[in-house]
């Protein structure tokens, strides 16, 4: 009893104090008696694998879910939230992974949406000025008059933050805020978070990226399978390896064993490709590269420099305005996607939910997406249900997809499992060429390792792999060669893993210029 009282007292000093939170979902115990504290003015990271219960816990705090058991104290007073509105009234605001903004409306309109003021007359200029001032104060640069659809993902995130700040939130929950951001935008975000804590705001930072947690947070709480494995340890007192262990419960090998092997024939050759992006602007300005059998070729670059457009052009999802795509000696430029699929091109798309899967269809329907016409799943004009089920069950076992049955809709799967479904589909038939877009983005440490191992297996089996990633470490450890793309042009090719050169090229310097500089400094 004494112990409990002490803890309660300690609890009351904190900004937020959650004690013994239990939350059940059908068949899952998402939170199992979790304690969590947030002190004023700190960045507190909540670390854990996919499905560890981080988002559930924070959704409880933000009033989206109601806990089955346990208490929440905010500033020492017990609270019961029936809706996010109650939570916001108590000063708690959550920025979700998927933004909740109206694309056709302006920043100001989005921020004012649902507020009691203004009542009748929408005095936009007044509120625009107010929001601009608030944005400047916290270093959240965004034009209050801009429409949401015109903004980049990073800017939209700032609008979400402004929305919460405008509502007077003192406690901000950020659900995996960096998952959607480019490296430059991540730096901006971290600066913003710092300036907010300086002004007395407290921040909960949900993540499973160790280096980000190490970089930004003051304290960290680690969850594993719905339980706390380490509560509120100071970041100075821990290390990356230790956190990784706490998170996955085993030693994570950060080194990857890659076999030496000679690459074979050229499988993919991209010659002087030009293409436009969705807004009709030039996204690719003469890209030339090649990938040979049995090698992983990395494509490095800051997000939005034409990587997605290049993958789309190679897989036939986007028209090239100029240039050629040759796969295994055959020109397939501007042919329908089916032609590439027949030639053995597999594609792990960047957007898993909107491109890679059909959310309301079952796991079975999702894994047969590219071979439903082939024997034995395709039988004449019919789909052989038994063969499809058998195939899906095999893949479920082989790729360790965690799902009750293969008839479950994939929308109910976690991010990591969804990626496994896509990988299972794309890899299981041994592709000639594999285009992997950000294959490990948003996955937890254990899953990342699994995906990387699968990519290496493809390389050993003789597939040509084009790996597009924003994680330089991943590119360096997996790739045989790395191209760097900048504003739709290839800046150069690196085979020795020189990180400095890659960094320079990513900011728009050409290989030739780097060499010239080097020569100059030698003189």
């Amino acid at each position: 009893m004494m112990d409990q009282d002490n803890r309660t007292q300690e609890c009351e000093k904190n900004e937020v104090c959650m004690r013994g939170i239990v939350k059940h979902f059908p068949g899952v115990l998402a939170n199992d008696h979790i304690d969590f504290d947030l002190r004023a003015g700190e960045v507190h990271a909540l670390l854990g694998e996919n499905g560890a219960g981080k988002s559930t816990l924070m959704n409880v705090l933000a009033g989206l879910y109601r806990q089955d058991e346990g208490v929440i104290l905010v500033n020492g007073r017990e609270v019961k939230f029936n809706s996010p509105r109650d939570a916001i009234a108590a000063g708690i605001g959550m920025v979700h992974q998927h933004f909740m903004l109206v694309p056709s409306q302006s920043v100001t309109e989005n921020i004012l949406l649902g507020m009691d003021e203004p009542r009748f007359r929408l005095n936009l200029p007044y509120y625009e000025a107010k929001i601009a001032q608030m944005a400047a104060e916290f270093g959240l640069h965004v034009d209050p008059k801009a429409k949401i659809w015109q903004l980049s993902v990073g800017e939209q995130q700032r609008v979400e933050l402004l929305k919460m700040l405008y509502r007077g939130a003192g406690i901000l929950i950020m659900d995996e805020p960096t998952a959607v951001l480019a490296p430059k935008e991540i730096d901006d975000l971290f600066n913003t978070l710092r300036s907010m804590t300086d002004k007395g705001k407290s921040i909960i930072f949900i993540s499973h990226k160790l280096h980000e947690v190490m970089a930004i947070s003051d304290r960290v709480t680690v969850l594993r399978k719905g339980k706390v494995t380490s509560a509120g340890i100071r970041i100075e007192d821990t290390s990356r390896t230790e956190l990784a262990n706490l998170m996955v419960g085993r030693e994570v090998i950060f080194r990857i064993d890659k076999k030496e092997q000679e690459p074979g024939d050229v499988i993919l050759s991209v010659n002087n490709i030009h293409a436009e992006n969705n807004k009709g602007l030039n996204a690719l300005n003469g890209v030339t590269l090649n990938v040979r059998a049995g090698e992983i070729v990395g494509l490095a670059g800051v997000a939005g420099n034409g990587q997605r457009e290049l993958a789309d052009v190679i897989t036939g999802l986007r028209k090239a305005t100029e240039g050629q795509i040759i796969i295994a000696g055959e020109d397939i430029t501007n042919t329908p996607p089916k032609v590439g699929i027949r030639k053995g091109v597999s594609h792990i798309p960047e957007d898993r939910t909107h491109v890679g899967t059909a959310p309301n269809l079952s796991v079975t329907d999702n894994v047969i997406m590219k071979n439903y016409t082939d024997e034995p799943i395709g039988k004449g004009w019919m789909v052989n249900d038994d063969a499809a089920l058998k195939y899906a069950r095999e893949l479920k076992a082989a790729f360790d997809i965690i799902v009750p049955t293969v008839n479950t809709s994939v929308r109910l799967l976690s991010g990591g499992n969804l990626q496994k479904v896509i990988l299972a589909r794309e890899i299981s038939k041994q592709p000639e060429l594999l285009i992997a877009m950000q294959p490990t983005r948003g996955l937890d440490v254990g899953a990342i390792e699994g995906v990387q191992r699968l990519l290496l297996l493809q390389r050993e089996a003789g597939s040509a792999v084009l790996l597009v990633s924003e994680e330089l470490e991943e590119l360096l450890s997996l790739s045989d060669r790395i191209y760097v793309i900048y504003e739709g042009e290839i800046m150069g090719e690196i085979a020795d893993g020189d990180m400095e050169k890659i960094g320079l090229m990513m900011t728009g310097m050409r290989m030739e210029d780097i060499r010239l500089q080097g020569e100059k400094s030698n003189e």
Partner: protein, 378 residues
């Protein structure tokens, strides 16, 4: 500390609480049918309350409705006559809706199908003394072809120019009605009346009454061969949607067109094909209505079958066989509507049933149960 649980009434500690959870798996088929049945029963009870409040006698009213649509073989046969066009147009909507193509134009495709069938006789394509089965097959084919063309047009516009199919199919409905009017007023008018001449007997769909000589019980029964068309169509639609590769493509496009494109499925071609098939089914409905019931082309051949079909497709949850059953129910309500017209009761019941059926969908998506409250520890 122990009062953290959310209670509706904190004082009274009822040992059970109601829990609502989203379902992780789709409930089984019988559950869905059971639910729809219960919804209809509840709707009838509510309807009874309303009739009673209006000073009517609900049980007598219901008995009358039941008698006038299911009471005897004769009226049941009439109910089926109303249900047949609903079945075919309902199936037309079902296949389009599966791909999230909102074909609101079944009504227009119905009229054009009827017109196409009339063309065979009035153009004339076939002489009047053509044998019955040739007449019927040619009329069915031409009716379906015309309906298919009428579905193809909005399909093509959507596939090529991304024209919203809701607007285009809706507008095409008016054109179809006026097109028919032009022919029955001007071209094929019989003696200035707004109708064509009666079709030759060879071109009539067989009715049960036609066999009254052999089987006396069939005397006076109006149910016609269109029911066979509807059942065959339901089987075909079911095979396409649930067994075929094409059906898989349709479902995939319906759920996520981007994923379908990524999987190499030609979307534009499928839009055109599905719209054409949808139009063909609605066209067949028109053909079966004029050759099975009215035996001539005239105005007002449809009390809005093509629009009711939209609701039927939804209530049947896009299941082709359920479409047949729901159509019978709506056929009964249309028929009963003529019997108790002044009171507007059947229309009211239609509305209440619809509300209940749509609301019952909640139970398909959520699980509701009583759970024992956990004893709170202090």
């Amino acid at each position: 500390m122990s009062e953290a649980k959310m209670n509706l009434s904190p004082k009274k500690k009822f040992p059970y609480k109601l829990k609502i959870e989203p379902r992780l798996n789709n409930p089984s088929g019988w559950f869905s049918s059971m639910l729809s049945f219960l919804a209809v029963v509840l709707a009838l009870l509510v309807g009874a309350g309303i009739i009673a409040m209006a000073g009517g006698e609900p049980w007598r009213a219901y008995a009358h409705i039941a008698r006038s649509s299911f009471g005897s073989v004769g009226v049941f046969s009439d109910t089926m006559v109303k249900a047949i066009p609903l079945m075919l147009t309902g199936l037309a909507c079902t296949i389009a809706f599966r791909m999230r193509l909102w074909n609101i134009g079944a009504e227009g495709q119905f009229f054009i199908g009827a017109w196409g069938a009339s063309l065979v006789i009035l153009a004339p394509i076939l002489p009047e003394e053509t044998p019955k089965w040739i007449f019927i097959s040619v009329m069915a084919i031409v009716g379906m072809a015309m309906g298919a063309i009428y579905g193809f047009v909005p399909g093509f516009l959507k596939a090529k120019f991304n024209v919203n199919e809701i607007i285009s199919t809706l507008m095409l409905n008016y054109i179809a009605v006026e097109w028919n009017n032009y022919f029955i007023y001007a071209k094929w008018s019989e003696g200035g009346f707004q109708m064509t001449k009666v079709f030759p007997k060879n071109a009539w769909l067989p009715r049960l009454a036609d066999y009254a000589k052999e089987i006396p019980q069939f005397r006076g029964l109006t149910m016609h061969f269109g029911l066979v068309f509807a059942i065959i169509a339901a089987v075909v639609v079911w095979l396409i949607l649930y067994k075929s590769q094409w059906g898989y493509e349709i479902r995939l496009i319906g759920d996520n067109p981007k994923a379908a494109e990524y999987a190499g499925i030609p979307i534009a071609r499928n839009i055109i094909l599905v719209m054409s098939l949808s139009g063909a089914l609605a066209g067949l409905a028109g053909m079966s209505e004029i050759t099975g019931v009215v035996h001539r082309l005239q105005g007002h051949i449809s009390p809005g079958y093509g629009f009711t079909a939209i609701i039927i497709a939804w209530l049947a949850k896009l299941n082709p066989f359920a479409v047949l059953l729901v159509s019978v129910l709506f056929g009964a309500l249309i028929l009963a509507g003529r019997e108790i017209q002044p009171s507007g009761v059947p229309t009211m019941i239609q509305g209440v049933i619809m509300v209940f059926l749509i609301a019952s969908d909640f139970f398909m998506r959520y699980r509701i149960y009583f759970a024992r409250r956990k004893e709170s520890k202090s």
